[in-house]
Subunit: 355 residues, 4 copies
């Protein structure tokens, strides 16, 4: 094991770079993983813009898989050299929030999201894993790193979006925006019994992926008000559930508008970009009486859930890799990061490979 | 059975009065009830102010009990002369909304609320009951009309507020405003296992009733920001659930603010008075990621639920009658209605008696 | 409309036949449907053997679709000539059981199952539909009768089996027996997010259909104890849920044995053939403490659910018609019924067509 | 801190005694507690009879409270000297079973129950606490040890019985047997909104406690078949849920018989005394189709739940101490244990006090 490693950090607000750092050492309940593959997340782009208060020099990244390099003294059931995936959210699993099942709120609001926010992230050659017994997920031999890395955030978040839609089989659902998380929400809704999925998206390549992942119809918001289009498609009644995967006040409001009475709005969009409060217009909200409900959450972690995501790949039910539009070596991570900022060249998710 | 009867109607926006109307005749699935007792609801005050589009001459009222006067040809299992309570919401129980369990949204948003909105209300000497087989609830002999009449709206709505708080036993809950529906929410939260109930209210007589119905602590918003007070009382953590029983944007926002991550906001307040959208500030909403959820609904009806409410009175677990601060004969209903508008004399609920 | 029609009846225990009967006339809330297609159900075979107390001359059948011939005076929203499917279970939707959501227990245990048990069944040229507003389901133009007829019982029952497995996405599930209801349970589990489906079946043609409908692995109980085989396949841990679709004490016990702690046993098998009580061995039941649960139910009806089943066909997510191994004209229904008794010629479901 | 301590052990099957043992030393995630009060559980009586395979010399006991004596290096948020309660079940909170919410099945069936089964129990002057961060519960100053000790098993198990009854407010419930766990189930059902509680019990002192804790009616099985009595009390319909708190095949069957269609059977009785399988007669089980469900579980632990139980005492909603019929010093624990075996002198729970 090397003493030092390269890490991709936020140097200061607006500036990133590769720097040299010491390889971390695990505490009794922790592990250290040598990274083999990673994805770049748009939320890191927000972080670099200053959306979250992060100390200068903090390592970015929270979507990485790799090989166990070192295990803390109290971590049992794993061995060095094992291939593992680690979720973006790494809860303690023992605080009151975790015991109640809100593991992403570990210790308090959004507290399960530790990488970059509370500690170095994992866009680095090695990274620490807290509460390793619960947060290391063995990757089966028949699953590649390029597949497994989607369980770290995209699939878990997107599928949570579908879970919070509380679908009965055959229900109708609208998914607003088909970025990587929205695409995974479409995939998840399809997997969990939706009967009709309307995907809202204007870019042709994302429309095509949405169709491939289970969308039945595409609403292109550049062609007219998506609320009107969805009401038309549903004979004026609206959908049973709407998933907000864009993170914009108008989109959130549109989700409320297109759901029928009794419908669910499931938010997975990150609303940190716009300081204005979200709005609940009284007509769409039925004066607070139309049995609609609104649900929120943050990428659930833990190796039990991760194992279920991997199983769905093993049995061929899902394959997220068509979202990997680009691949870069870790040396070129800055280029990849820049492309995620501009969204050039139809980029959806860039895969970063390590040595 | 008389041919004509007196009914308390909205003559035009802003004007009410007692008028003579024909006694209704039941269709095959309907019943006609002779009224014996009723309560006046603040939502009728809103209606008279013009909050809902209602034709001139429409009978007001949706909280009445009485005696079966006539049964439609297809209604079985009841008999003329039986004492019955009828919920404010009288769903068909057969449309898609009802089949999904959203009976208050019968046929569409808020569609189960038929009295006054879709047909004559029941502040009259006789009234029609749609889908009578499901909407007539026999009143047990040991329950008085003055007790039973609280099942028609107050208890069902207030208890729904507590149900939508999704309490685990011992949870903490804040109930904003202790009008009659808020008081019933307090009673319901206490009945369904809350471990600590914080009631927000400034009027002493309502504070006293809140304590009697199960509140452990009172927060008086006239003495300072209720959000700060509740955060102080909970050591800065907030409550597991908050119930909005006031119908005001600031109150709704306060509910969101006082709930901890993973918390539930349960709305029972009527928001028809203020045209502005409700707001979800991003800090209190955790950028859409803090596992909070928001729930809404409208007084659930049906004789199965009504029977359970009555059973709780029969076994002595609840007694709502301390909320009856005043009693009037039907002749004086206009006086009672005026008092409900001004909320004079510490009025909470006025009981109207018939014949 | 004809005055008389042919109906396939139980003449007495052990004997069936086609007889002439008057065409029924609908009451105010009923409808009469002219049959166009039907399936024969094995439960009718049990009925003819004497499993249920049924008066001589009662019409058999509960899986029929057709065209509305006549509507009761109180039935709105439909028109004569409309193609409709009708579930085997036709609840009133208004009694206390229905209001609580147990519509198959309408009025009391199994009370929603009215055809043949409480009234004439629908293996006849015309049939009555109780509570028609809730029980008539329009068939979309792009769905054939041969497809729609599977919603009447097979899909609704099988999917209930999957619903009662309370699957999280990626869960493992074993489905015991791949008769038509078991095959639909396999299809349902696949549709609702199962990650690995183990189907227990020995007949090659049913094994093939199970694979086609989503089973990942087949356990052939003729090759060894299915419990051992499933424990081997799952590394000794067992499955998250097991669905009993056979109706036999040993199968029920096997379901309990193959589920891990916290697992669900979902029963859809009909246990009327064997008078012995089902058994819960204490080791498999964890002395009553291993967080296992057992769930039961009966084909849920209602046009809201039926519409969702049809939607899944419309969007191409399910296609049950490969189960139709044989087709007969109504004239030859006796032959079809005899084959369902002996299960000759690899028969799974015989479709009966009407003039 | 002393080096050695006294512990109450099973010397061999059928024989108990006080022995000297070394005071345990905590691992990094563990704690050691000095015991101040304990209760004796009938399940230990079963253990001594040989119901569970336990090595000779193993310390008994799993219902103890005390004062933190020593904390492992990785345990934060607590301090030495703090008063704490520890549940009988002490899960790791990190394995797949725990992550799914089945914490009592930690690591496998019943695996959360570690005291006496997997390690020394806590009827000793000091005891170890695994996963201390999640399993140490601070006792508020206004709660005595004699109150708090009921959270360790009795209240948590009994309340789980009520939770698994899935009560809607106003539901009817029968609780079979009013031993300490059954009494707590009665208390829990009352707290969680039951509308009518029928307690089955023959001993007058337990009948009296049942009434005090919320039972509305008592069925004395020594006066006739309790199933018949309950059916009579409910007009032949049965109850919404039945809680089995006795651990006997006939009682389990009676629970199934007295529930109406759609009803829940919630087992909390320990069935280790009788080797015969439990039985589900087909009539009571509706041939596997009457929407009944059966639920099981084992005393849920964790300081989040424990805190909620303590809160209910703090706000005066529950008081279990009337069940403490006897008090003994730890020196006399053998006498107390003998009385729990014979159930002499109307004993319900004996409190053991330490130094």
């Amino acid at each position: 094991m090397a003493d030092s490693m390269r890490a991709f950090v936020i140097k200061k607000v607006g500036e990133t770079g590769l720097v040299e750092k010491p390889v971390p050492d695990p505490g009794p309940e922790e592990a250290v993983v040598r990274t083999t593959a990673a994805l770049i997340c748009t939320s890191d782009v927000h972080t670099v813009k200053g959306a979250l208060p992060v100390p200068d020099g903090r390592t970015l990244g929270h979507e990485s898989v790799g090989v166990i390099e070192k295990l803390g003294s109290a971590v049992t059931g794993f061995e060095v050299g094992q291939r593992v995936a680690v979720n973006a959210v790494t809860p303690c699993y023992r605080c009151h929030y975790c015991q109640r099942g809100y593991t992403s709120q570990c210790g308090g609001p959004l507290g399960g999201y530790k990488y970059t926010v509370q500690m170095d992230g994992n866009m680095a050659e090695y990274f620490l894993v807290p509460a390793a017994f619960a947060n290391l997920t063995p990757i089966p031999d028949d699953i590649t790193d390029a597949q497994a890395v989607y369980t770290c955030d995209m699939l878990s978040t997107g599928f949570m979006g579908a879970e919070h839609a509380y679908l009965k089989f055959g229900d109708t659902v609208a998914v607003f925006a088909q970025g990587p998380v929205g695409l995974c929400a479409t995939m998840g809704a399809n997997l969990m019994g939706a009967g009709r999925i309307i995907a809202v998206e204007s870019r042709p390549e994302r429309q095509a992926l949405a169709k491939r992942f289970g969308a039945d119809e595409i609403v292109d918001f550049s062609m007219g008000d998506p609320v009107e289009q969805i009401m038309d498609l549903t004979g004026g009644e609206g959908v049973d559930a709407a998933i907000e995967a864009f993170g914009f006040p108008q989109t959130f409001e549109a989700c409320l508008r297109v759901t029928k009475a009794g419908g669910r709005v499931s938010n997975i969009g990150y609303h940190g970009e716009n300081p204005a409060p979200l709005q609940l217009p009284l007509d769409a909200f039925g004066l607070g009486m139309n049995d609609k409900s609104i649900h929120t959450g943050l990428c659930p972690g833990g190796n039990e859930r991760m194992t279920r995501l991997l199983r769905l790949m093993q049995t061929g039910r899902i394959d997220p890799t068509p979202m990997t539009t680009h691949t870069f070596a870790f040396d070129d991570v800055a280029t990849a990061f820049a492309m995620m900022t501009t969204k050039d060249d139809g980029i959806i998710k860039p895969l970063i490979t390590f040595g």
